[in-house]
Symmetry: C2
Subunit: 571 residues, 2 copies
Amino acid sequence: MRFSHAFFPTLKEAPAEAEVVSHRLMIRAGMIRRLAAGVYTLLPLGVKVQRKIEQICREEMSRADAQEVLLPTLNPAELWQKTGRWEAYGKELIRLQDRHGRNFCLGPTHEEVITNLISREVRSYRDLPQNLYQIQTKFRDEIRPRFGIMRGREFTMKDGYSFDRDESSAERSYSQMVEAYKRIFTRCGLTYGVVAADSGTIGGNFSHEFMVTADTGEEAISVCEKCGYAANIEKTPVVISLPKNEGGEMEKVHTPGVHTVEEVSSFLHLPSEQITKTLLYMADEKPVAFMLPGHRELNEIKAKNALDVTDLCLADSTTVERLTSAAVGFAGPVGLREDVHVLADSSLDGKGGLVLGANETDHHYIRAEEGRDFHVHAFVDLTLAQEGDACPECSHGMNFRRGIEVGHVFKLGTKYSEALDSTYLDENGKAQIIIMGCYGIGIGRTMAAAIEQNHDNDGIIWPMPITPYHADVIIVDMKDADCEEVADKFHADLCRLGVEAVLDDRNERVGVKFKDADLIGFPYQIIVGPKSLKEEKIELKFRKTGERKFFPFDTAAKKIKNYVSKEIESS
Amino acid sequence: MRFSHAFFPTLKEAPAEAEVVSHRLMIRAGMIRRLAAGVYTLLPLGVKVQRKIEQICREEMSRADAQEVLLPTLNPAELWQKTGRWEAYGKELIRLQDRHGRNFCLGPTHEEVITNLISREVRSYRDLPQNLYQIQTKFRDEIRPRFGIMRGREFTMKDGYSFDRDESSAERSYSQMVEAYKRIFTRCGLTYGVVAADSGTIGGNFSHEFMVTADTGEEAISVCEKCGYAANIEKTPVVISLPKNEGGEMEKVHTPGVHTVEEVSSFLHLPSEQITKTLLYMADEKPVAFMLPGHRELNEIKAKNALDVTDLCLADSTTVERLTSAAVGFAGPVGLREDVHVLADSSLDGKGGLVLGANETDHHYIRAEEGRDFHVHAFVDLTLAQEGDACPECSHGMNFRRGIEVGHVFKLGTKYSEALDSTYLDENGKAQIIIMGCYGIGIGRTMAAAIEQNHDNDGIIWPMPITPYHADVIIVDMKDADCEEVADKFHADLCRLGVEAVLDDRNERVGVKFKDADLIGFPYQIIVGPKSLKEEKIELKFRKTGERKFFPFDTAAKKIKNYVSKEIESS
């Protein structure tokens, strides 16, 4: 590819809205352009990288016996109504009507469509297991699209689905996919971790995320350096041991103007962990109360999962006042309206001597006790993990890291196969529910994550297996016909050997060419200038290290070919 | 791939709604399944073929210096409003609103988005020419989706766009694409023709279609066997010479109950070609009249283009009666309401002695003459071509063929670049409008067309370059462990040599395996049975000819590899 003919519109500056480095570099290097919020065009350099990641996915899927399909983007509403997600998915689901007024959504994920397919095609245990995947454009109307193609509204995903006859077979499919995903991200040249995660709107029994560690990651992960345990903080179990409180009769105390945990703590001369806070929420439009130790925050994902609801939001002050008959800041479980469902954090289980809001303005209770003075519906883990919390596996204090979720695997169980009546006949002719797993890789996000992990101040430093081109042959002096001729021939030699190379034949100063080469991030820069000609040597500069090597004309192309092959194989 | 693990759900019968052979065979061979009207899932065998066609497209696009991009499916309404197509595209355009109420459509084609991109990125003549393409899912809400993936509402397309500084450069880009398309369809193993065509909703100066000849094709083509001229009949110019009529004074004659051309012809003892029929239409809600020789039909595409309107439909009887003040069957240009725009077919230009409806029930005029008795706004070619019409190039009588449109190339001129302000600065720093071309291949339709051209009563006969697998290794007797072992080893040998092979290891009767092999259409069937074992020979059956060959075990795999390579190279 001649640079002078190529559509590589590089830029000196990125637009102001590009917050993270991958977004800035993808725009500057001419890989993407924005069409609308969260909607991007991939330019030739972007497509090249995307196709390589897709190809790696295909090879590893095939190696893991998964077969490629292509499911429609247009999903009929009926299927989504059957699983309840037509409502549950909320505004992220893009809906439309066809010319006949029939309702469709644009697939944000494809459990419904593929389970429907399997329910129609699979008859017997002999037809199982099946593992099908696709590489396709997905649509999610994100409330806050950002970071370029990292969190877009239209994006390319590799999504896969497994169908098994029983738990042990489903477990095998899940492990196979975990292994395949590890190979994929390793082959893409990424440093990543596999962490326990929440299943979100996909649902199912449990899930793992593949996290590329990067300071700019949207996700926080808790990691135990001692035993290797890692989880999304949304999912990290929290075990807190609270100090023993003083027991005795419950007593109402006057606490004028004392609203917050800090104020109560200082008024009563007690540490905040000895105060219990009660948070009122609306869960699918019904009131709920969450009780937590005063020094910790609510993990809303855990709360949602504990209640099995779709929508959870903090109650507004009017609602709080209506439910407690008191000003905001004095909510508590004692004498709370009966229709409020009360959940308490596990750390409060069996605790007496609690300090609680009294549901009366300017009053708190002290020495309250569950079972005697009030009742909770259940004790569950509701607490958001903090750095330093005890590892759930080995109790060692955990550290926090930031990460980019590039893959997610789910053990779905029978959530979708039950809703869509996906069964098989076993050896005895008895219908059994199929057990499912689902697996996803964000192709564009993987590309962005690779940049987050591989760049410097000058631009991108592509890992060899996913670089748009392996090498950039730079003509130093366009006025020197010999220089151009040698470079041209060398470029042709490289292409003939299967090295993907660009020939920078633009009528530009060599400084511009070097800057663009660094920005776009070709792993190898091959510099053909007067010096090369005189010495009959090709100069190779490694983008990553800045190291330079010189090879005689006649062996240089083969040498570079070998370097490329080795780097691809070793990743 | 082991057949026993594969997701190849073959069927004995196709559903009743599958009208054409490709649709029936794609369903029966387990390549596609219907999700909704015009919305299909591609199963593994379908995806395999699609990916091969895509790969051929990519290679030929790259050879023709076109670069791959990926434009968004979500197209902002504003761009389509600028070109006027937000309205003009009608109900085929699928529209939706995002969570903020902003209007988008799902791209049915991408002139707007890519022209907008180019208008932002191209500055100077040095940035031109550019030729960008993508392979992407398109959405068109067809009024009558049919024939499986041949005319679907969601389908994969290779669409490309060229941008040039002047006509001669645009001409070169157009020719390059025509040549690339020829190579693509040839490499796919198709017999096709390139025909002049109408530009439809895409617009522009002129266009050519790539037509795969097939009896079931939706399109009719006129072909001149003498000079090679070919065109879609929608586009075929018609030159009719009518006999000279008797002149003289115009006269109104009483023609009671005589409505149709045939009735007038028999009443007046004149051949139908000497009767002039006047058809009333509504064109973008305004009345128009078309005059034609009585023996020919109106070509509505020509009529639409002549008027440059979006919507053209036959006037209903109430409208006809209102416009003519007469019953249906007596419309004519003499004394017609002045607001009716009248176009006459070129064959009537300069003709006197016309027989016309008199705009009065039960009356006709005879010996009417344009210019004297009435006026037409223009004489243009309005006639639908018929088999036997004179070739516009050499006047030889033309034949009709049926075809499937698999590709379409358009010289767009400046239609989109003007609307979207896509300009470049020339050598003198003066802004000039960019000249465009656009180019499309229906990937799924190409697959269906290949089946229409390559099948027999037993199933598909894949051309080697796009077959899902090259060979099917059939184990004749699953109870014979030797048989299975040899077949297994042979399958592995083939795969190692790069022959894409299936191993039919199902516990099925061999008759079922043969039937499925014929149905799916593997070019080579390799039969491993007791006879092979005894003679230490592999039996190869060619799907296309039924011919059988036998090769010794040790050389068979290499031999087959060579056959495959040769067949791919020779296409």
